[in-house]
Amino acid sequence: DSGYGHDLSPQMIYRYSRQLLLPSFGVQAQSKLLKSSILVVGAGGLGSPALLYLAACGVGHLGIIDHDVVELNNMHRQIIHTERFIGQPKVRSAAAACRSINSTIQVVEYQEPLRTSNALEIMSKYDIIVDATDNAPSRYMISDCCVVLGKPLVSGAALGFEGQLTVYNYNGGPCYRCLFPTPPPTTACQRCSDSGVLGVVPGIIGCLQALEAIKIAGEVGEPLSGRMLLLDSLSGRIRIVKIRGRSLQCVACGENTTFSKLQFREFDYENFTQSPLTPSPLKLNLL
């Protein structure tokens, strides 16, 4: 197991030399990356670049969870999947791609939907969670589970020409429910499959998610906690705004909350948000 210890092998020194050269990164941050474990929920538009960069930079243990299969209409944005994986599970395709660019890290595949019944067990094995999902109930569920387990959450979203990014539940900062205590009306919850997305927009946000996860895992820089990045790709504008801190009244992370693992397991996120955790794929009428 020496590969994941402080002692970098000559191969590793050569592979990661351009990061080791950085004075504010160096052997110390690289060693932390190699010992860290990160779970990426969703191997789609956001997960594709996030997984590639996390694998490439040397995150020691990388988990991927997704229940879906690769489809041709994913290919315009989900650049981790190649055409020969069409019809096959996204986790298998994504894991193969990660291993092909870095055979020295461990990649674990979870070919199943994330649900309240498996989330605690799976997420407890990782230091950092990356939310790369595409629907509201998953976002509440993942945030609540991170609060219960005390894990930082790197959350990204993209739709149309816009993207959003922040870090939740990090170092006393807010959780998803602190910002959004009440779910939005279902009519406001559009998904890429319904409304479309310019492929490179989740590309940008997914890269930024990898960056934030690397900063947290390597303990360098200032993670985007208490701040939110707003990207408007069409006009070429990016805002980084200050958001509220942890809410004392938050049902999940507030002062007097009783939210527990047991409650998490029994919480009905689909009913809460009035939308399904694993939406059935839209059948296009264009063909």
């Binding site: 629907n135 976002r139 779910p183 009306p185 705004v241």
Partner: protein
Amino acid sequence: MQLTVEFGGGLELLCNSVKIHNVNVELQKAAEKLTMKDLLAWIRTNLIKERPEMFMKGDSVRPGVLALVNDCDWELTGQLDTTLEEKDVVVFISTLHGG
């Protein structure tokens, strides 16, 4: 009062797909200051062209909408009671779930 009001995350669809609005909001007579509560009422009357329930709920914004005054969450500036000043930039953005 000259303000910039911006919509994002899909809310611009309620305003003929225009994202940035440079507006002049007249102060109510007798009132000495313009608050976010006043601005929301003004926006509902003057900018929102359709489905106002997708923007507001009661006299505040609907769940899932972040309001920002000069790049700062309005929860930190006083929410509905936030006092606006000349040339302030107010952004309303709907949270995205896609990926």
